[in-house]
Amino acid sequence: MQLLIKAENLVKRYARRNRGGAQEELRALDGVSFEVFAGTTLAVVGESGSGKSTLALCLACLEEATSGSIWFGGKDICKIAEKERREIRPQIQLIFQDPANSLNPRWEAIGILTEPLILQGRISREEMKERAYSLLERVGLSAEIAERLPGELSGGQRQRLAIARALALEPKVLVLDEALSALDCSVQAQIANVLLELQSALGMTCVFITHDLGMAAHLADEIVVMGGGRIVEQGRVEEVLREPREQITRRLVAAVPRLARAPMAPIGR
């Protein structure tokens, strides 16, 4: 299998002044290394503050790592010039958690879909519209959605639109940062199916960042467990989740709400 992304010792530090007034350093990523193979899905799980979202931003070239490398397409995207980075960005597309915030509320769906195509500037208007409609179909939206505004769509429809927009640039990698977390249960299932379809039909490589281990187990091949900015455990999904070795992983697995759970003892203090 072809290696698509290789992260080596990624470090991202933020400088902050804490309540006492002293300068303190926040290590959002503290030496993260992993590999992503083409056509597979990598799940990145962890609690809030474990660095998952920072990782997503660094992968999508929206944040610059303090040190370390991300190898993609033969280049270290952490160290290339802005001009080159602009060429790389369309190839790694990011989908955010809240579709309401990532879609321009004043544009109709068709405009949202053609915008990235216009920016690329290579094809005619007719072709653009055709592409837009085929994108809608691919994510399971009906053609009449094209004229609607994001505010008129449901959460699931918006997220599908966000995915369609991401696909417009024919990326090699989709990074999904908690993309399902804000959706209803049954809608999550629908979008999960869209992602599975993309994996099988297009061979899309995905990095799926979430704290929902159940969904991670369902969609991913490989998994990386993060804690405190570091990778705590990684490996094939079934192995890591069935027999977690680290404390953090065990806690995450135990915390997954399960339909067949026995009555809880009051864990109160």
Binding site: S154, L196, M215, A260, G268
Partner: protein
């Protein structure tokens, strides 16, 4: 067991910007028993959030309660005078909203926000109220209670903010807590912690709770009974163990199948298409004939389009609203 809250045939309408009317709740009835945790399972469009705000009459300006009775402590809340209602809100029935980061006042310290709830309902002096605030914080925050009371919401973590909301909710010793997706924005471990806190509070304070969520797995091992809401109607109601293990209504069955079980069944079904419910939950505008779930139902019949089903008993504690169970 005695019922602490009785809801009968509650109807709520919303008026859209062009004057069109949308039914958010279309005849919801249920009882809440003293000290029980009732899980209300509903997705967007089911009317779950409307239920919480309607019970204490905090609907937005374009919402109206058109029919129904809400009996609480021998009074119909829907007929109560505004001053009475104000006293009940936060005092006898508390609301915990979604999104703790939004439900707290951004520039007021946590301790003061709880203090004000007490002050709105008690007539005691400042000193007494401050002491009470301190006690509540100590109960909800076993460690660092003082530091948290002095902090502002933006200095607290998601879980801590949620606990402040809980502190506000239990401050005046209510008999009912209405929680609308209280754990939605928290990560799994904090979520589990919160559920534990709720259960402890229920034991300690004997308070009944309506826990609204869209995630059925959260209710497992937590709720006593489960009420399933779809299209503003109750489609299933019964003991949690029964409903979660053997759902009767087609919607409930389909919903449970949407939860990926990759962690449980030996990896079978991993990467497989989930049997998601086709279509979208439609916004029902009046008038609506027939069953609300019929367009998406895998088991639909002719009669489902013509008439609306009523709640029928599967056994003495479990009711379903579906023609399949009509004898």
């Amino acid at each position: 067991m005695a019922s602490v809250l009785e809801v009968r045939d509650l109807h709520v309408l919303y008026r859209g910007r062009e004057g069109e009317q949308r039914a958010a709740l279309a005849g919801v009835s249920f009882d809440l028993e003293a000290g029980e945790i009732l899980g209300v399972l509903g997705e967007s469009g089911s009317g779950k959030s409307t239920l919480a705000t309607a019970l204490v009459r905090l609907l937005p300006a374009n919402g109206r309660i058109t029919r129904g009775v809400v009996l609480f402590e021998e009074k119909d809340l829907l007929q109560a005078a505004p001053e009475e209602l104000r006293g009940i809100r936060g005092g006898r029935i508390s609301l915990i909203f979604q999104e703790p980061s939004l439900a707290l006042h951004p520039t007021m310290r946590a301790g003061e926000q709880v203090y004000r709830v007490l002050a709105a309902h008690g007539t005691e002096g400042k000193g007494v109220l401050r002491e009470k605030t301190r006690q509540i914080f100590a109960m909800v925050f076993p460690e660092e209670a003082e530091r948290i009371a002095r902090s502002y919401p933006h200095e607290l973590s998601g879980g801590q903010r949620q606990r402040v909301l809980i502190a506000q909710a239990v401050a005046c010793g209510p008999s009912v807590i209405l929680a609308d997706e209280p754990t939605a924005s928290l990560d799994p471990t904090t979520q589990m912690e919160m559920l534990g806190v709720f259960r402890t509070l229920r034991e300690k304070l004997r308070v009944a709770m309506i826990f609204i969520t869209h995630n059925p797995a959260l209710l497992a091992g937590f709720a006593d009974r489960v009420l399933v809401l779809y299209g503003g109607r109750v489609v299933e109601l019964g003991p949690a163990a029964e409903v979660l293990k053997e759902p009767r209504h087609p919607y409930t069955k389909a919903l449970f199948q949407c939860v990926p079980a990759g962690l449980e069944r030996n990896g079978n079904g991993r990467k497989a298409r989930l049997p998601a419910i086709a279509g979208e939950a439609s916004v029902s505008s009046l008038p609506w004939k027939g069953c609300a779930f019929e367009p998406r139902c895998a088991e639909r019949m002719e009669v489902c389009r013509d008439r609306e089903p009523t709640l029928l008993g599967v056994n003495e504690r479990h009711t379903v609203s579906c023609f399949k169970y009509e004898k």
